[in-house]
Amino acid sequence: MNLNLKSDKAHTFDAIVVGSGMTGGMAAKELTERGLQVLMIERGREVKHIEDYDTAMKGPWEFEHRGRVSIHSAEEYWANNRFGTLANEETGPFFTDDKKNPYIEKRPFDWIRAYHTGGKSMHWGRQSYRMNKKDFEANAKEGIAIDWPIRYEDLEPWYTHVEKFVGISGQAEGWEVLPDGHYLPAMPMSAPERYFRETMMKKLNRPVTIGRVANLTKPQPWHTDLGRASCQYRSKCARGCPYGGYYSSLSGSIPAARKTNKLTVLHDTIASEIIYDEKTQKAKGVRVINQHTMGVEEFFAKIVFLNAGSMNSAALLLNSTSSRFPTGLGNDSDQVGRNIMDHHLGVGANATVEGFENDYIFGQRPNALYIPRFRNWGSDKKDFLRGYGYQGGASKSDWKRGITMNGFGASFKEDMSRPGTWTMGFGGFGEILPDPSNRMFLDKDKKDKWGIPMIVFDAAFGENELAMRKDMMASAVEMLEVAGFKNVAGFNRQDTHPGLGIHDMGTARMGKDPKTSVLNKFNQVHTCKNVFVTDGAAMVSSSCVNPSITYMAMTARAADHAVKELKKQNL
C-alpha cells in the first residue's frame, strides 16, 4: 500500500484505541487527558448521545409489538434472542444483528454484541462491584490455571479513580467479601426488602445490600460538567438515557475525551489487523476496513489499545500474523482465545410475599438487592470451588399477574388497575473457572463479508459450574423459605451456555510468565509491549462480581503506565 507523506501524517496519532465501549471509552479518556492524540476506531455505526436515543421517551403504546420480539427480529438477532427480549423495539437498535455478523458454534456460545458507539456500555446492567483480595489469590492458592500478576492493592487506587468518575450509588458495608468503594447515596430498599435483609442477617448470617449501580443519585460537579443529570427513576436505561442518568461511554468517557480536543473517532471501521514492525519489534499501527465501502486503510501510532470486547480483541490478535508471530500477535503461549470465562446465570428462585399490603414504591428503581458471595467463604466449604452472588429483590405485582391467574370481566379489569401482592426473587451470577479447552479461534476457510476469518467458539460449562448451579438454586430457595415467603419456586435454566452472562472474558490473560500468558501486569502484550489489551480478555479468573468496573480500573491503570513509559521512551 502506498500512502503519501501528507496522508501518512493524517493517519498518524499518538495512540489508537480499538473499540468505543466500556473500556475503549475509558482508554480514550485517560490517554487524551494525559496529552495524547487518540484515534478511536469503532466498527459499528455512530450513535450520538441523547440525539440518537430514538426510543428513550416513547410510551409503551408506541412500540408496535409492545416489548415483544417479532419472529422476524428473533431470526435476525438469533443469539441475542437466547437471553430474552433484547431484540425488541425498545432496545433492539443497540444490539447487533447476528445474521449480518455471523459466528460459528462448534459448541454453543451465546455471543451478545453491540456494534456502535458506546458498545455494550449502552445497555449494561450497571452493577459495579470491586473484586476482593481473595479473588486475586484464589488461582494460586487452589492451583487453578495461573496466578494473577497483580493483587487487589494494585487496582485499589484505580477502582477509586473510575468509581468517582463513573458515579456509583451504593452503601458501604465494611464486608471483606465485597470491598467498599466510593459511593453516591444509596437507593432505598422497599419494606419487604428491609425485612429480608434483617432476617437473612439474623437467621443465616448472610449479608444483603442495595445494589451498587452506575446511576447518579447525587451528581457531582464533574458529572454535571459533562451534561449528566440525576437519575429520573424511569428504569429505561437500556434505551439510552437523555438525562445521562446512568454511565456509558456515550454519557461519560467519550464526552470527557472530546473535551481535550485530542480525540478523533472513526465509525463503521473494522480493525482487521495490527501491523507489526519486524525491525522495531513493535506494533506500528492498525489496518482497517470500512464497513460499507470495503476500503482498506492503515493508521499509525506509538501505542495501540485493544478494547474491542474480549472475543474481538482476541480475534484481532489472532488475525495479526507476521513472520515473528505466525499464530497471531503475542500468541507464543498459544493462550490467545483460550480460557473463555463468563458468569453463568439463569438460576435462582421466586416467591410471593405476604403482608406489607400498604407499602408501595413511587418510581422505578434501576437497581436491585445484592447478596454477595457466601459459598466457600470464611468457614463455609462446599464440594465445588469459588462462589456466586445474587441479584434480585421485591416488587409489587402489576397487571401482568392476571395473565396466569383465573378471572376476566369487569371486576377483573378493575382489579388489574391496582397493585397486587409483593413478589420477591433472586437470580445468581456464578464464577466460571478458567479452562484452556474453552476457547475461540479463527476458521481457516470461512471468512466474513469483509474477508476476515470467522470466529469459532468451542466452550461449555464444566463440572464445577454445573455443581454450583444446583447449589445456587437450592440456596435461593432456602433463603426465601427462611424469610417465610410463600410459593417458593426454584429455577435452573438448562438452555444457557457460556456467553449468556454477557461477561465473556479471559481470551488474552495476564500473567507473570510469557510462556503461559499473553499480557504482563500492566496489560501489555509480553512480546510486543506497545500493544495493550485492557478489556475482559485480560482476566485471569472471573470472580463472581459484575466485571465492568474492574475492566475500567485496569484500563485506567494501563493508560497511566503507557503514558509514563512513553515519556521514558520505553515504548
Binding site: 440518537d52 417479532s70 437523555p242 446465570l345 397487571w399 437470580g427
Partner: protein
C-alpha cells in the same frame, strides 16, 4: 407535567433534539401487513374476527373506562399472532376459535358465553401444566417466563387472555384510564398506599 411537555422539557434542558419517531402518534393495527421478508399464513375469517372481538371484550369489557374493542385490541391480537407467533400457536388459536364456532358462540346468551369461556379457562389451566412455566430472572434486570417446549401450540385461552391484556394495558387509553401514568418519576420513594391506590405505570 404531561409526557409531551416532559419531552420538550428534556430537549430544552439538554439542548439536544429527539428524533421524529418519538413524536409520532400512536400506531393502529388495522390494515397491518407483516414486516417485509416475512410472510405467514395466518388469517381469520370475518366470523372468527367477530369471535376474537367478543372474547377480548368479555375479558376487558367497556365499563366507566374504555374496553378492549375501544383501544383496538382485536386487531392487535391478529397482528401479534402474525408477527410474534409461529405455526403451532396459529393452529391452536385457530382450533380454539373453531370450537367456539361449533358452539355458535356469537349466538349464545351472555350467561352461556360466560360459561363457555369459564370452561376454556379451566381447560387451559390443565393444558398449561405441560409447559412447566416458570418465572426466571436473567441478568441484572430481565424477568422471563421460561417454558418447556411443546409440539402443540399454547392454548387458545392463554393466547387470547395474554394478548388482550397486553394490548389493553399497554395502549395509551388503557394506561391513562387504568393507572397513574408517570413517565418521568424524577424520584424514588418508598410510600404508603393511598385509599384506592392505582398502580403506577411508567
Amino acid at each position: 407535567m404531561n409526557r409531551r411537555t416532559a419531552i420538550i422539557h428534556v430537549v430544552t434542558m439538554l439542548g439536544g433534539a429527539l428524533s421524529a419517531p418519538t413524536l409520532l402518534a400512536m400506531k393502529r393495527w388495522d390494515g397491518h401487513t407483516p414486516s417485509e421478508g416475512f410472510s405467514v399464513e395466518f388469517n381469520l375469517t370475518e366470523s372468527q374476527k367477530m369471535i376474537v372481538e367478543e372474547v377480548a371484550e368479555m375479558i376487558i369489557p367497556k365499563t366507566a373506562t374504555p374496553g378492549a374493542k375501544d383501544v383496538g385490541v382485536p386487531a392487535f391480537i391478529v397482528m401479534m399472532l402474525q408477527d410474534c407467533y409461529k405455526a403451532p400457536e396459529h393452529q391452536s388459536f385457530a382450533e380454539g376459535l373453531g370450537s367456539l364456532e361449533k358452539k355458535q358462540f356469537l349466538n349464545l346468551s351472555a350467561e352461556q358465553k360466560m360459561a363457555v369461556l369459564k370452561q376454556a379457562e379451566m381447560d387451559s389451566v390443565e393444558e398449561m401444566k405441560a409447559y412447566q412455566a416458570q418465572q426466571t430472572k436473567m441478568g441484572d434486570n430481565e424477568d422471563r417466563e421460561q417454558m418447556t417446549a411443546q409440539a402443540k401450540g399454547l392454548p387458545f385461552w392463554r393466547l387470547m387472555k395474554e394478548l388482550t391484556m397486553l394490548g389493553y394495558f399497554t395502549s395509551e387509553q388503557g394506561i391513562m384510564s387504568s393507572f397513574e401514568y408517570v413517565p418521568i418519576p424524577g424520584k424514588l420513594e418508598m410510600i404508603k398506599m393511598k385509599p384506592n391506590q392505582k398502580s403506577f405505570a411508567y
